[in-house]
Symmetry: C2
């Protein structure tokens, strides 16, 4: 099954303790769709400016990603993000954000996308996320991401969104902020009680937790000694997870758990280099090999 | 097989965001031996003062713990520790330490302990830990814990100790401090290259990592919504892990991994109440039931 993702496409400048990269390909929908492309056809909805290097579009298309929903706006600039990772590589500072063309982004899904059954709403204003939901009335698996900004400035809209989606994916600090509870198990279930059928809390280098009415579990991150740039890890997690669900066209609890693991493993490649550089080198078989290792690691 | 543990027995005063307890039973050897007692006979070596409530000794003995190595010093006071947990319940401040009788602790193992094959050196000065090693020449599984203090003030002695033990257990922050590397996978292997055959990095609410020459793995913590007091979790982890190894009398990689899981699960009970209050309520069958759940959680 194809999978629609609505989110940002950006040019990132990233500084780590060891290196710096300027204007590399980034954005939530970029990482998500590239990660998902190992599992299914991802249909991208986003916007860029006139400065957008066409080679990036060709890179996405080389993985079978449908870019007919990528709008190019003339006389405008692409969204730019600049950030710096601290020594622990888990915490980061945002140095600069230039929303540019993304500021007025009002996603319109191409007609060919509207009957899609799997839909991911990457981080964005919850009102815009709801507008997208309205365009996909037949979707049977809708998952959204969010961030601290929307919890603070658009809480009511976020709460309305939560009543309309199947799943929410968010960071540990965001789950604590949204619920006011520092215990992640309680926080996860509290978010679930706000509406979604399931909640996934991403814990960065510590893996991810899953919450549904009858299930609570945590899966660790794949232990890698080679973290070069964590940018895009969370969106790659989402792309791997949703990509696997769409590929299997099945949203049973057992498939969801395996999808979580695929999300974790896809993200474990992303962090091994800047931008999409590591993902560009791998095939589905590399993810599956890592999955075999991961399953061995967790059995005793 | 019996298991010898050398470490502290203390009276703790603990403050959490919700509650406060004064002068409750604590200390590394206390939590370790009580946790180990679900698996094997723990033989305790420690020291207390004249103020020691005899009922605490009886509590340990009620679980079959051998307290013949617990020295009572007249005209002296028991070690006291006082600490306060921050809102996240993972970080804590030490408010006060009164070493008292523990300051001059020079452990002498009773004759009956010296042929013990499983030995745990709870956190202490590495020179003293080495003195204990000298008293157990026949031990075939020696594991030590350490802390930031010894990494800072007794680094050379710690490095000597590391060449003489089978395993080292330490916290994530300590592993980073000892190696100067913020990536835990690299840090774990760097500690292993300092001498021990294996290294365990404890990550608190995020579980634990294992490193040997041919293995690297991470197991998550058991997700609990009921963290009341994390004091003693690390030592309970050690006690569950070593207790299971001693019970099985087997130190193969497969047994070590299962032992890690038992350590994690035993500690998951400890944090559900102050002091030993939660452990006092459970039987081995409760740990085994949680193990079944944990194995289900990690299979997909």
């Amino acid at each position: 099954m194809p999978l629609v993702v609505v989110g940002s496409v950006a040019l990132d400048s990233v500084e780590t303790p060891d290196e710096r990269r300027e204007n590399v390909l980034g954005g939530s929908a970029t990482f998500f769709s590239y990660a998902a492309s190992y599992f299914t056809t991802a249909r991208l909805v986003s916007v860029v400016g006139e400065d957008w290097p066409e080679e990036h579009t060709r890179l996405l298309e080389s993985r079978g990603i449908d870019t007919s929903g990528l709008e190019v706006v003339l006389d405008a600039k692409t969204f730019r993000w600049s950030g710096k990772y601290l020594k622990n590589m888990n915490d980061r500072e945002t140095l600069d954000v230039q929303l540019n063309v993304f500021d007025q982004f009002n996603p319109q899904l191409p007609e060919s996308y509207r009957r899609c059954r799997y839909l991911f709403l990457a981080n964005g204003h919850p009102s815009i996320q709801m507008n997208v939901l309205d365009q996909c009335p037949g979707a049977n698996m809708t998952v959204a991401d969010t961030m601290d900004l929307w919890i603070n400035v658009a809480r009511d809209e976020l709460l309305s969104l939560l009543k309309r989606i199947d799943g929410l994916v968010l960071n540990d600090s965001e789950a604590k902020m949204l619920t006011g509870d520092d215990n992640l198990v309680r926080a996860g279930h509290a978010v679930r009680e706000m509406g979604p059928r399931f909640v996934v809390i991403k814990k960065g280098e510590h893996g991810a937790m899953f919450f549904s009415e009858h299930e609570t579990y945590v899966l660790p991150a794949y232990p890698t000694d080679d973290v070069v740039d964590p940018t895009g890890a969370g969106d790659s997690f989402g792309g791997g997870m949703m990509g696997y669900l769409a590929e299997q066209d099945n949203v049973e609890p057992k498939t969801l758990k395996r999808a979580m693991a695929y999300g974790i493993l896809t993200a474990s490649f992303t962090v091994e280099d800047f931008s999409l550089d590591r993902l560009k080198e791998i095939e589905r078989s590399d993810i599956d090999r890592r999955m075999e290792e991961y399953e061995r690691m967790l059995s005793f």
